[in-house]
């Protein structure tokens, strides 16, 4: 697993899927009265506060995809690094362009950026409804905000999930 894949796993699997989405599921059940645990609301507020850091992490990840996961990496090590200088002047670029086209890399990157933006908006909406107590989070406005954040976070997880997990050609 290379560094980018490791960072993606940490962000998408460890934090987003195992952390935030499970937390949002818990929060939903707090808001509908089936679970009693005020600590979940505190945790949700912390996540909202830390979202700006996570957002930056998400953007850093997607912005570095093209560079770190390009098949150009194969030309930096043997055997491809041993090719003629003349071949190395054009073949890596071709491989990269082919990879971008074949795997719709730019489209996927745009999709992820859009998903990040939607999560950003949803966090903003949740913050605005002041969901800092059980009573507040049970209000219709907060429950709708919670649902939108769940949907947006889920879409972001799926968008990151569709990105390559290894260097492809």
């Amino acid at each position: 697993m290379n560094s980018w894949t490791s960072r993606k796993a940490s962000f998408n699997h460890d934090w987003l899927r195992n952390g935030l989405l499970v937390l949002l599921g818990a929060a939903r059940n707090i808001s509908n009265g089936t679970v009693d645990n005020p600590a979940v609301i505190v945790q949700l507020k912390q996540e909202a506060t830390l979202w700006s850091e996570r957002r930056q992490e998400a953007f850093d990840l997607i912005n570095s995809l093209e560079k770190e996961m390009s098949p150009v990496a194969f030309f930096r090590m043997p055997p491809l690094a041993n090719c003629d200088v003349e071949i190395l002047s054009w073949l890596p670029g071709l491989a990269h362009a082919s990879w971008v086209r074949r795997h719709l890399i730019h489209e996927q990157m745009d999709s992820v950026r859009l998903a990040i933006g939607n999560v950003d908006a949803a966090f903003h909406e949740l913050t605005e409804c002041n969901a800092d107590s059980v009573k507040a989070i049970s209000s219709l406005k907060c429950r709708e905000a919670l649902n939108r954040l769940s949907d947006a976070a889920n879409a972001m997880a799926n968008a990151f999930g569709r990105l390559p997990s290894r260097i492809l050609v």
Binding site: M1, L23, A26, T34, V35, D36, A39, Q43, A157
Partner: protein, 607 residues
């Protein structure tokens, strides 16, 4: 008592003990899936969360050792420890009569290796992970799945993971997992409830079908699966094993799942089908004002929209079988005296203890196919679910006590339980119930139920076909009466071991005729049982007509035996007793002699 299903969740993140005690990730997972954490470790004991309407109780296990780790610790996957825990909640629970695991949920990827400052900062107690941990080809979860399925093939296992399902869908199916629930799916609680309902091993919460043994839990699971559709069902099981209760369970779980509300459940007494009135009972009577005939709806119409339970279908006479087949094919009935057919939507749940496919009473195969269109449910006999006996004993003793005013509430002694567990209960749960009601009714003023209060056949360790020896007043063919019940195999074993002491001449000399005579009566009674079992009952002959050919096929086990040879067997068995016979045996010999008249040359004595 409404007990929750008990899940085992094997997961490195949610199963770990976190330094400091509080596993926030586990708490959130419980809140998301509506689980009550009953692990009993520090994490569950320090949690203040309350799940008000839990779907299940959950026991968490890391699947690794140590269960708690800090910076500097090395965490390794622990297959043996995991299997030991499963054994405890499975084999040990089953043998004690406790509820075993309803289901096991396993994660896919388990991070192992050293816990570093960085990995501990990201998630307390979690190791850095090794490259192979995240390789779908070597997920520890799949290795565990393999091992679990090999040792516990009946244990339902689901994958619970946030890894992409498509990465592992073929592998988890190959290795025996029944499904996959994405941990981050917002429909989590609904998906888990559905998985438990379809695949989990769940006791009957109403305790009508009482038991925690694996055979009963498997039967209940099959019943729930069958209840999801409206096709006819056949329930098979020995007499007294609870077939009607299982039918009621099918109806009940269907009603619980049905948004349209309660459907009717109508039981048909099989005796109804043996009378001339079966048509009016089943289909009702059209009212006729001119002749002042009161109308009434029949049992099938009363079950419209719901379920009709037909008990002991093997006793259904052939004309009733033909009628029922038409009803199932056309899905409509016409009341007796009526003209206009009425469409009915009825699920037929039928029950039998007979081997209908090979029953000489000739059950229509086309009707049998219709009756089991939605499947066959098998109820285990009590001897195959003995771990349920203590539960059943408790229930029946309390029922008996509540029905009798002034009866003391008694403790059931371990010796009494042992005595009850040693018997094989050929009459199954019904026989057990009768025994206990009898014990309570005859001993209303005692605080302890002891073996002496129980009236059951002694020394019956293995179940075999019982051979009832009928008292003289019921069977005039007998010279001596006894009301002992003995297994046929035990009888054969006993006879096989009989020896005569050559020195004890006075005991056995001159007794050949007596020995032959007794032997002849044993064979005659054997034949009598077969004649009773194969009688053909009609409306004209409700007591039944004997059929010598099916009876002899039954005792010889030869389905291809010609009728003439059957007659020869009858003659061989009964001619030695010709002057003493009466009733069915006399008639059987008469029929055999008509088929195969005596030769004028030979004596036709038994050879």
């Amino acid at each position: 008592m409404n007990r929750l299903p008990r899940l085992l969740i094997i997961d490195d993140v949610f199963g770990r003990n976190v330094p400091g005690g509080h596993n926030r990730d586990r708490e959130n997972l419980c809140a998301h899936f509506l689980l009550r954490d009953v692990t009993g470790d520090i994490a569950s004991n320090t949690s203040r969360q309350k799940v008000l309407r839990p779907v299940a109780d959950a026991v968490y296990f890391r699947g690794q050792s140590p269960s708690e780790s800090a910076v500097g610790t090395t965490v390794e996957n622990d297959q043996q420890g995991t299997l030991n825990l499963i054994r405890e909640g499975w084999s040990v629970s089953l043998s004690k009569g406790d509820t075993p695991w309803s289901m096991v949920l396993i994660d896919l990827c388990f991070y192992s290796g050293h816990v570093t400052e960085e990995s501990h900062r990201r998630m307390p107690g979690m190791p850095e992970g090794r490259p192979e941990d995240d390789d779908p080809r070597s997920y520890f979860g799949l290795i565990l799945l393999d091992a679990i399925h090999r040792e516990f093939p009946e244990l339902p296992v689901f994958i619970l993971s946030s890894k992409p399902r498509e990465e592992v869908s073929l592998e988890f199916s190959r290795r025996g997992a029944l499904g996959f629930i994405a941990r981050d799916d917002m429909r989590g609680p609904e998906l888990l409830q559905d998985a438990l309902w379809q695949h989990g091993l769940l006791p009957d919460p109403s305790e009508e079908v009482l038991g925690n043994s694996l055979p009963v839990l498997l039967a209940l699971r099959e019943a729930r699966r069958a209840a999801r559709h409206r096709s006819n069902l056949l329930i098979r099981g020995e007499r007294g094993s609870g077939k009607e209760l299982l039918a009621a369970y099918v109806h009940r779980v269907c009603a619980d799942a049905d948004a349209r509300g309660t459907r009717p459940f109508v039981t048909v007494n099989s005796a109804v089908l043996r009378t001339d009135l079966f048509a009016s009972e089943l289909f009702g009577i059209e009212p006729k004002t001119a002749s002042a005939v009161d109308g009434r709806i029949g049992l099938v119409e009363a079950a419209d929209g719901g379920d009709l339970f037909l008990d002991e279908i093997a006793d259904m006479p052939s004309d009733a079988q033909a009628t029922m087949l038409r009803v199932m094919q056309d899905r409509q009935i016409t009341r007796v005296g009526g003209r206009k057919p009425k469409v009915v939507d009825v699920r037929f749940i039928s029950a039998t203890n007979a081997d209908l496919e090979n029953d000489p009473r000739s059950f229509r195969p086309d009707l049998l196919d219709r009756l089991r269109l939605g499947g066959t449910l098998w109820l285990p006999p009590l001897r195959e679910r003995k771990s349920d006996i203590p539960l059943l004993v408790e229930q029946f003793v309390r029922q008996a006590e509540s029905q009798r005013h002034g009866t003391m509430q008694r403790e059931i002694t371990p010796e009494a339980i042992e005595r009850l567990m040693a018997y094989d209960w050929p009459g199954n749960v019904r026989e057990l119930r009768s025994c206990l009601f009898d014990a309570v009714n005859r001993n209303p003023d005692v605080e302890h139920l002891v073996p002496g209060h129980l009236q059951i056949a002694p020394g019956k360790q293995e179940y075999q076909t019982p051979v009832a020896v009928v008292p003289q007043k019921e069977n005039p063919n007998h010279k001596q009466s006894t009301d002992a019940i003995m297994n046929l195999s035990a009888l054969l074993t006993m006879l096989d071991g009989v020896c005569f002491d050559s020195k004890d001449i006075h005991e056995w000399s001159g007794r050949l005729d007596d020995l032959q005579h007794t032997q002849a009566w044993v064979f005659a009674r054997y034949l009598q049982a077969a004649l009773d079992a194969t009688k053909r009952r009609t409306s004209e002959f409700p007591d039944g007509l004997i059929q010598i050919h099916p009876a002899v096929k039954l005792i010889t086990g030869d389905a291809a035996l010609p009728a003439t040879q059957a007659a020869d067997v009858i003659k061989r068995l009964l001619v030695p007793l010709e002057d003493e016979l009466s009733g069915d045996l006399r008639e059987a010999l008469a029929i055999a002699l008509r088929l195969r008249p005596r030769s004028t040359k030979n004596s036709n004595k038994a050879s």
